[in-house]
């Protein structure tokens, strides 16, 4: 069915513009009222969910052809899902699913992905990671650590580092700190080392469904074969795709947790406690794929009947059941740390700007979006912007440079380690 499945949505959008804003009741200021980074940057309605609905309808009905601008409009979206939240407050539509389907449609027509995406995609094919790094070096980040290699011995818990934490020398310490913390708290944990392969989030984000399904199926099979009961990852991108896209590929017989969830669990179970005070004023950035994108998707197959009712009735994600409280619980449990919230949080969080293939194809747009988040964070008076996603950490750091800010970006686990 593809994009056709969403024809009802496409023709029923009344262009109310809710997709462009935080819900009116949650708007606290003029400056932080927007929800869509793409609209903020490019201004034209075409760059909103409403405009992309119009574009999709026009493509399906043969009203327009592909132009370079068509591809730009489709791919200058971080797939952050902000539009999905405010639209769904009002309507029973699926903007985020449409945006994904639109990219698959582009790939099916042989027009996508963009040249900027190709190196990462090819690298995933060849090296199992988007960073053009050899697959054999994937486990090197943990070479000095004493940890089970799940390919050789069984462990209940797999720590899945993800590509960026594995290869990015500036961020490897996050994976190391998280793994060490799991080991120190007595978790039966192991890693896959060189056998770990990309979650394939970067390929599904640019519309390459076939490659995604192939890679996702392999991962599911590997996790199952190795008898893994729980997968813990520190990467919000991996987490989001495991939760929202993998169930459509295969039977998930294992639990998936983000490391912040696990930390929260350890604190609640009194298996993790803090001995040091960390005097910091911090604000928390909700990564899109941990928050709005961290909900399991309903694999609905059905039709719209009279009055637009769905048959069979479908469950909808409202962006509310993502991982919002666990990181906040952890921050509040650390002695000395003061959490000051930004205006746009939880389901209305402003995207860091890196997702959806934007960082590789439209780096200026990515940094402009991050810069806005940095400015918002600065307004709180916090010294540190804390998050738990390598894409967010990296792009927000670029935003700090662009803004000339004194703010620091830290991963939550770093602060946790400081307090232990």
């Amino acid at each position: 069915m593809g994009l056709e499945k969403y024809r009802w949505d496409l023709v029923n959008c009344e262009r109310c513009s809710m997709c462009k804003w935080v819900h009116p009741w949650s708007i606290k200021s003029r400056d932080r009222a927007r929800i869509c980074p793409s609209m903020q940057k490019y201004k034209y309605d075409a760059y909103s969910a409403q405009g992309r609905f119009d574009l999709a309808r026009a493509l399906l009905e043969g009203e327009i052809d592909f132009t370079p601008k068509t591809l730009e409009v489709i791919y200058t979206c971080t797939l952050c899902g902000g539009c999905d939240v405010t639209c769904k407050f009002t309507r029973d539509m699926e903007p985020l699913e449409v945006l994904h389907e639109l990219r698959k449609y582009v790939v099916q027509k042989g027009k996508g992905p963009l040249p900027g995406h190709v190196p990462a995609v090819e690298s995933i094919r060849k090296n199992n990671n988007p960073w053009l790094q050899p697959a054999a070096r994937r486990g090197h980040w943990a070479r000095k650590m004493k940890v089970k290699d799940i390919m050789k011995e069984r462990a209940e818990v797999l720590y899945f580092a993800g590509c960026t934490y594995s290869y990015n020398a500036n961020l490897q310490h996050v994976a190391q700190a998280t793994l060490q913390l799991l080991i120190d708290t007595g978790v039966d944990v192991g890693i896959l080392g060189a056998a770990e392969a990309c979650c394939a989030s970067p390929v599904i984000k640019v519309g390459m469904e076939e490659l995604f399904r192939e890679r996702a199926a392999k991962n599911i099979e590997l996790f199952y074969d190795r008898g893994i009961k729980t997968v813990i990852t520190s990467c919000a991108g991996c987490y989001g795709v495991f939760k929202s896209q993998y169930p459509a590929v295969g039977d998930m017989k294992f639990e998936v947790l983000h490391s912040v969830e696990y930390l929260d669990r350890l604190i609640r179970e009194k298996r993790l406690s803090f001995t040091k005070t960390v005097p910091l004023k911090v604000t928390w950035h909700d990564p899109c794929h941990l928050g709005r994108g961290g909900e399991a998707q309903d694999l609905w197959e059905g039709v719209r009947i009279k009055w637009g009712l769905s048959d069979p009735p479908r469950h909808r994600n409202y962006g509310t059941n993502g991982i919002y409280d666990p990181p906040r619980n952890v921050i509040r449990a650390i002695p000395g740390v003061e959490l000051i919230e930004m205006e746009r949080i939880r389901e209305f969080s402003w995207c860091c700007g890196a997702g959806g293939g934007v960082k590789s194809a439209f780096p200026d747009f990515a940094v402009a979006t991050a810069k806005e988040r940095i400015e918002e964070a600065q307004e709180t008076g916090a010294e540190v912007l804390v998050t738990s996603c390598p894409w967010c950490e990296s792009n927000l750091s670029d935003g700090i440079t662009a803004a000339g800010s004194q703010l620091r970006v830290m991963s939550l686990v770093e602060i946790v380690r400081q307090a232990m």
């Binding site: 959008c13 949650s26 009002t90 309507r91």
Partner: protein, 519 residues
């Protein structure tokens, strides 16, 4: 769908290449609109030839002058919610004000704000609340443009207290020839923005008349709007999470009353009495469909509850009291309201009841509209059956009863409108009950047959109103040719104004009245 030779380059030179676009991928985003699809009108619509993003009044003047020089038309938009902003002819550009999004001033002493066209009500109210002020927010939703909505109708949830479209003060208006007309106190050098009227001829009426000119007479680039006192919290008090937000105003200063009356006549009597007593900030008869859709997180929820809910929610008046001066104002007004309710046999809906739970967010809706677009959730498309009765409360009721509801029932018999036997309208009191408006809501699918029934019914309501010499409001564009001959040929006067101000017909040519009657 292309501009005359040289026109595009002229626009690019004036605005910068990044602020002009004629690519179909971009212009498609301005070519499709609710209602048009289901009323066959989409086939007569076009993608704009280009979209331009001015950054200032001067930019708008330049665009307008280029349009006159190269002889193409333009449509200025705000947040772009209404069908008249979709081009009806090929060589038309859209002036999209997304770069004109600043709140230029909030004057707390004189209680007004100066805004550009892409500032929404939610943004302005959020800033105003920080300094103890508010604005009456469009019922189309707080995500719409303050400027565009004020030019269209400017009515809002708290219109009972704050008035109907009394908000426009000084304005900078770019006329269709590119000159600027300063409205109100802006017409006097150094006088500022504080006043909507001015010495000599008052041209504010020309700016908006009954329902605005829909971009047919140029573009307002800056507008001062009236603000009002607001005694509440500095941020809008919302709680919960999507899609179940609730509002939480301090009860000693903000009190919602939901009152069931034995019949609509008693309800209307109560509306008048509340007006006579000069109490309350918001007074609305809330129709069951609106209340339930506002509380529905999904279309499935609505349809599960609807059959039973429409039996229970009848003749319900929503009255919000606000303690502008102190909590004692609320105490006093509540006592007065209690007397009125008792005398007219009304009964308060209990706060521990399911009906209250469904209706309690009315107070949030009246202060900052956030639920109204859920009306589209019910069936896909939605509108009101014809010409919004604007008159006294009695007259509004009469219009609804005599000819609007029979038309709705006809649409229901065809299966085109949703079943609804409540005879509940959205009946609003403005200006302490001196003025009223009724909107019998209809819901239909995005379907050509249902759309045909809707448009036929809509036209009939205009004719029925004219037959009875009742007020017919909102005859947009060509519909003025139906209403005009019955009302001193006002349409000819409007046509003459259009011809005088826009001799080349560059500014949304078919508005406010097309040059020729519809064929």
């Amino acid at each position: 769908m292309s501009l005359p030779p040289g026109a595009y380059e002229a626009l690019e030179n004036a605005l910068g290449a990044e602020n002009v676009c004629d690519d179909p991928a971009v212009t498609s985003g301005y070519s499709y609109m609710w209602l048009l699809y289901s009323t066959h009108a989409q086939s007569g619509r076009y993608r704009p030839a280009a979209v331009v993003l001015p950054g200032s009044t001067k930019d708008v003047q330049t665009i307008v002058k280029i349009a006159n020089r190269y002889k193409f038309s333009y449509i200025p938009v705000g947040t772009n919610l209404l069908p008249p902003t979709i081009p009806a002819r090929p060589d038309t550009i859209i002036i999209d004000p997304k770069r004109m999004d600043k709140i230029l001033q909030i004057d707390t002493q004189n209680m007004y704000a100066v805004v550009e066209p892409y500032v929404t009500y939610a943004q302005l109210q959020a800033e105003a609340m920080k300094v103890g002020l508010t604005i009456t927010v469009a019922e189309a939703g707080a995500q719409v443009s303050v400027v565009a909505n004020n030019m269209f109708q400017g009515m809002g949830g708290t219109g009972h207290k704050f008035g109907y479209n009394r908000g426009i003060l000084g304005c900078d208006w770019v006329l269709p020839n590119g000159e600027i007309l300063y409205i109100g106190s802006r017409g006097n050098p150094h006088a500022g923005w504080f006043w909507g009227d001015c010495a000599g001829l008052n041209l504010k009426g020309l700016l908006r008349a009954d329902s605005g000119h829909c971009g047919g007479l140029g573009m307002v680039t800056t507008m001062a709007v009236k603000l009002f006192p607001y005694p509440g919290p500095k941020t809008f008090p919302v709680k919960g999470a999507n899609p179940d937000f609730k509002v939480d105003f301090p009860k000693d200063l903000f009190r919602l009353n939901l009152i069931k009356f034995p019949d609509r006549k008693k309800l209307i009597e109560a509306m008048y009495e509340i007006g006579h007593a000069e109490i309350a900030a918001a007074v609305h008869e809330e129709p069951a469909s609106m209340v339930l859709s506002g509380a529905s997180p999904s279309v499935e929820y609505f349809w599960e509850k609807w059959p039973e809910f429409m039996k229970q929610w009848r003749n319900v008046l929503s009255v919000t009291l606000i303690g502008f001066s102190s909590p004692r104002q609320v105490v006093y007004e509540q006592k007065v309201l209690d007397q009125i309710v008792e005398e007219l046999g009304g009964q308060y809906i209990r706060e521990d009841s399911e009906l209250w739970r469904i209706g309690e967010d009315n107070i949030g809706e009246q202060i900052r509209t956030g639920l109204s677009n859920r009306l589209f959730r019910v069936a896909g498309d939605f509108f009101v059956i014809g010409g919004f009765g604007f008159d006294s409360i009695d007259q509004s009721y009469k219009m609804s009863e005599e000819y609007m509801w029979p038309l709705i029932e006809e649409g229901q018999r065809k299966g085109h409108f949703i079943p609804d036997d409540t005879h509940n309208d959205w009946l609003n009191s403005y200006q302490l009950g001196h003025f009223s408006e009724t909107e019998p809501l209809i819901f239909f699918e995005h379907d050509l047959d249902a759309g045909a029934t809707f448009i036929t019914s809509y036209m009939k309501t205009i004719q029925e109103a004219l037959k009875r010499k009742m007020c017919t409001t909102w005859p947009l564009g060509p519909m003025n040719y139906i209403a005009g001959p019955h009302m001193c040929n006002y349409h000819e006067l409007v046509l003459n104004i259009k011809r005088k101000l826009d001799p080349r017909l560059t500014s949304n040519p078919d508005y406010p009245v097309p040059q020729q009657p519809p064929g």
